[in-house]
């Protein structure tokens, strides 16, 4: 049985991740899969190299689940992130949230991907036609109430 929160070099299997959260009490499973897109900011992407501080990343995923459980009790969540070399179309992240009701499943799934992008210690180096660049987003600060607020708003909460 795979773990609900994982960083892995293996290809992600969204169905297997959804199966980790679904149970007879849930009537709704919302899933999000982020994939490598061919174009990024006008650049033609060849591949992405994902790197993670894996033990902290897994703890961050657990933290995101705890934050979700506080806001949406009873929703179960799984987050898997892939690292290593990914090509166009490969899934980099797969998230599943299961709940008795669809509103909560959608909200937790969306909240989780927002928080992953904000605070998971994971980086991607984009290899595009003509060069390569580390992508740097936001400074990760799990205690920042502003970031959490943004994630809640995007989750339509």
């Amino acid at each position: 049985m795979p773990k609900r929160f994982a960083v892995t070099e293996d290809k992600l299997d969204p169905s297997a991740i959804a199966a980790l959260v679904a149970d007879p009490g849930s009537g709704a499973v919302a899933t999000f899969v982020g994939t490598v897109r061919r174009m990024n900011l006008g650049r033609s992407v060849v591949r992405l190299e994902y790197e993670a501080y894996a033990p902290l990343a897994v703890r961050v995923f657990e933290r995101i689940a705890a934050e979700s459980a506080e806001r949406w009790p009873g929703v179960s969540l799984a987050i898997h992130h892939r690292v290593g070399t990914l090509v166009v179309g490969d899934a980099s992240v797969a998230i599943a949230a299961a709940s008795a009701h669809r509103a909560d499943a959608f909200a937790v799934c969306r909240y989780a991907i927002e928080r992953v992008k904000q605070i998971a210690p994971i980086w991607k180096r984009e290899h595009f036609e003509g060069g390569e660049v580390w992508i740097e987003g936001a400074t990760a600060d799990p205690e920042d109430p502003g970031a959490k607020e943004v994630a809640l708003r995007r989750a339509c909460a």
Binding site: V33, L48, Y53, I119, A138, A140
Partner: protein, 84 residues
């Protein structure tokens, strides 16, 4: 005392090292370790305002204390979670 320093992504590229063992004078906090590192690798300087720190694989403030044997990690702004 001696700490293990972990560097990721562009910080790793700039220093050429993903892991370093370094002596720091006690008492030290995360900031102390970073300042020593910037002295050794001046190219890290621009990251002073944007890094996050972690001690033993838990996020830590820059003023969190560091003990002998700790793993101190420095994280540039993150970009996980997919393209979009």
């Amino acid at each position: 005392m001696r700490v293990r320093v972990r560097l990721f992504a562009r910080l790793r590229d700039l220093t050429g090292a993903s892991e370093l063992a370094r002596d720091v004078s006690a008492p030290a906090d995360v900031k102390t370790v970073w300042r020593d590192l910037v002295r050794e690798f001046p190219a890290l300087e621009p990251y002073t305002s944007s890094i996050s720190g972690a001690v033993n694989a838990e996020y830590a403030r820059m003023d969190a204390p560091v003990s002998d044997g700790d793993e101190v990690a420095f994280l540039p702004p993150v970009s996980g979670g997919g393209a979009a």
